[in-house]
């Protein structure tokens, strides 16, 4: 049983493992496809992001330059400005421009300063932070321009609007100085991307971070080689750098704007996807394993159950077998015992029957002999009396002696008959039914006659009987004796017993009919039971008919039936 269970479990484990393996492979494939998908998508989105960043930056730059240049011109064209320029009147310029500064300053907090330069590029006056004393490129440019440049250890964005007189001669410059962080702010505002500006110190050619206190940037960039789109992983996150080369006012002033897009969310998405896949996979695996396990458990349970039942019924069967054997043994012993007892009983019965029939036979002999004995005694008496009277002639004596001898012979024959009858033969033999009936007649005639009972014998077919002739005669005698006893008991004077032997449908039948009024026993077959007697104790032992049945049915393959027909009982013996 254990072996089987183990085998079942191993099958279960194997099946679960196989299914899980298939699941794992499928999941891995799907996961991989998804991963590629996401990665491709990320790549594509990053590329588009870069373009977007560039666009935003350029547009912001364009917008900002246009805005401030226009403001500059607006200021130039304001009343008294040109005049003040012409006069190099710093106070006038300051006073005239102050309201505008107040407005503009509020518009943009990244606006550093609002400056006025003369035609030589020398600072006249300014608002805000103090700018450089000289305007770069003042002589070369007749058109307004913008750009970044370094100065005072900082990188700044300038817009320059040129003030001209009626003769189109340059009379001065209006400059707005804007902190480059403004662009970063704009980009951040528009795209939510952090940007950092790196520029090189004009002297040391060292990279200078514009935002020194920006820890994130510091940590992220650390002046390392930053390449476009090369992912940087730091403890603060994962960043995708976009690098834009800023164009300075001259080559010296070129710089780089580095955008760092935090792509942690991509990674997160990826990780999340992986995690989700993993979780889904694990859940699926668990569920599958659970289902399979449960299914197998169910199957196993059922198998176990049926096994258990099988075992149980096997055990029961074995028990039953054992019990059966014991029972059979007991039964056999009981049967043997009963058989022995029955045999013993049978033996006793047979013995009793023998005694009874011997008693009966002796009775019959007495009847048989009474006649000749009486005759003999009569002969003797008459002889004696005749002799006494001297009347005994020779003739008379001879006649009487002969007569006496005949009687003695008759008696001797009778004794022989009875003796023959009681010497039981060891082997079955064929005998005519007439022989058996003659025997009966011979033995019973005197008794029947003495009791005035007529015996009528009618042998229509003298068939052969195979059996023990004496036993059969004995059985017949018992039937006749029974009838005789009943007739006598009833004090009947016209008792008749009829014996008939004939063949019917190949059956050998002997019928005994009496006219003694039938058997008043219910059920009638009870008369065949041992020790059953309706007669007085003196005449009936109660085993005669039992022995008859035994003799006919057991020893001689016959059958005996009894019924009441007409005036009496009818015994039918079928061989």
């Amino acid at each position: 049983m254990n072996y089987k269970q183990k085998r079942m479990i191993s099958v279960k484990t194997k099946t679960i493992t196989l299914v899980l393996a298939i699941y794992l492979v499928l999941s891995a494939v799907f996961f991989f496809i998804r991963y590629l998908d996401i990665k491709d998508f990320a790549q594509a989105s990053q590329n588009s992001e870069l373009l977007k960043v560039k666009l935003v930056y350029n547009q912001t730059l364009k917008r900002t330059s246009k805005f401030y240049i226009t403001r500059g011109y607006a200021n130039i064209n304001s009343f008294g400005i040109k005049e003040a320029f012409s006069k190099n009147d710093a106070d006038s310029l300051y006073k005239l421009s102050l309201p505008r500064w107040n407005i503009i300053r509020k518009e943009n907090k990244y606006l550093k300063s609002f400056c006025f330069y003369n035609k030589d590029g020398k600072l006249i006056t300014y608002f805000g932070k103090k700018p450089q004393n000289y305007l770069l490129l003042s002589q070369k440019n007749t058109k307004s321009y913008d750009g970044f440049w370094q100065g005072d250890n900082s990188l700044n964005y300038h817009t320059v609007s040129i003030a001209k007189d009626k003769n189109s001669d340059v009379i001065g410059f209006i400059t707005f100085v804007i902190d480059p962080q403004y662009f970063l702010f704009e980009i951040k505002k528009l795209m939510n991307i952090h940007a950092y500006i790196i520029y090189k110190d004009s002297d040391s050619r060292k990279n200078i971070f514009m935002l020194k206190d920006d820890k994130v940037a510091k940590d992220t960039i650390k002046s390392e080689q930053i390449e476009n789109l090369k992912v940087i992983e730091t403890k603060n996150g994962i960043f995708q750098p976009y690098i834009i080369n800023g164009i300075g006012i001259d080559s010296q002033n070129s710089f780089k704007i580095i955008f760092l897009q935090d792509i942690s969310h991509w990674k997160n998405t990826l990780q999340k996807a992986i995690l989700q896949s993993l979780i889904a996979m694990i859940i699926l695996i668990l569920i599958t394993a659970g289902i399979i396990s449960y299914g197998f458990d169910m199957i196993l349970k059922e198998l176990d159950e049926s096994n258990r039942k099988l075992r149980k019924s096997q055990n029961e069967l074995e028990d039953l077998n054992k019990n059966l054997q014991i029972k059979i043994k007991k039964e056999i012993q009981l049967k043997l015992k009963k058989e022995r007892e029955a045999n013993e009983k049978e033996r006793i019965l047979a013995h009793q029957s023998k005694l009874a029939s011997m008693g009966e036979m002796i009775g019959n002999i007495a009847h048989q002999w009474r006649q000749p004995l009486t005759q003999l005694s009569s002969i003797l008496i008459s002889l004696e009396l005749y002799f006494e009277r001297g009347k005994l002639t020779k003739d008379r004596f001879q006649v009487k002696a002969k007569e006496a001898n005949e009687q003695i012979n008759f008696m001797s024959r009778t004794i022989d008959d009875f003796r023959n009858f009681f010497t039981s033969k060891k082997e079955k033999e064929y005998c005519k039914v007439s022989y058996a009936i003659d025997n009966v007649e011979k033995l019973l005639l005197a008794s029947l006659k003495n009791n005035d009972i007529d015996l009528m014998v009618e042998i229509k077919d003298d068939f052969d009987i195979y059996g023990f002739p004496n036993e059969i005669s004995q059985a017949f005698i018992n039937i006749l004796s029974n009838a005789k006893d009943v007739i006598l008991e009833k004090g009947m004077k016209n008792g008749v017993i009829h014996i008939e032997a004939f063949l019917e449908n190949d059956k050998k039948i002997v019928i005994f009919t009496d006219n003694a009024g039938g058997i008043k026993v219910d059920p009638i077959d009870k008369i065949f039971e041992p020790y059953f007697s309706t007669k007085h104790a003196k005449s009936g032992t109660g085993i005669g008919l039992y022995m008859t049945k035994t003799i006919i049915e057991k020893n001689n393959n016959g059958k005996i039936e009894v019924q009441n027909i007409g005036k009496g009982a009818v015994f039918t013996v079928i061989f």
Binding site: R370, Q371, Q375, S378, S382
Partner: protein, 229 residues
Amino acid sequence: MSSCNILDILSDKKVLYAEDEEGIRTNVVDILELFFEKVVAVGDGKEVMDEMMLSSYDMLIFDICMPHMDGLEAIRRIRQKDKKIPIIILSAHTEQDYLWRAVELKITRYLTKPYDKQTFLKALEMAALEIVGDNLNITLKSGCIYNYSQKVVCHGVENIKLSKNESRFLEYLIKRANQSVTFDDIYDYIWEFDIPSKEAIKSLVKEVRKKIGSECIKNVYGIGYMLEL
């Protein structure tokens, strides 16, 4: 021998013997013929009844087991008419039933077969004595004494022997003493089938009167005779 004497009573008597077994019957008839004047033997109960109709008997000896009618039944019928006739039964049966029935019928002796000589003769004696009322001698009116066994009349020292018919007639009258006995009764008893003339009776009476004294037997006119004791 007194026994012989007693049995001599029977010497003028008639007996009816019924036995169905011929072998026994002939032998018993042989025996009975030694003692009786006449022995009639029949084979069954029916014949018994026929015979009883035809003749009168002094004694009956019956077997019980006979065809047609058993002995006891025959006796029962006979006893309805005749209460006195002695009956001996010779039977193979010793069963009580038979004995009870026999007792009721006032049987003298019930002998079981086979019987020996003594028993048989004793039974005959008993029956004989019953016939004569236990007295072998009877004193008649005339003073003479009649002896049943020797069939003699004793007048003092003189003994006169009576013939068979005479003694039969006398004993018949003695049995019916002081009663008138008809001529027909006498015919039936003495002569049976032969019809004798009245003269025969008269001469018989005359002979008897001569031997016992005439005063003993009176004429009853037109009827018969009567013996006075």
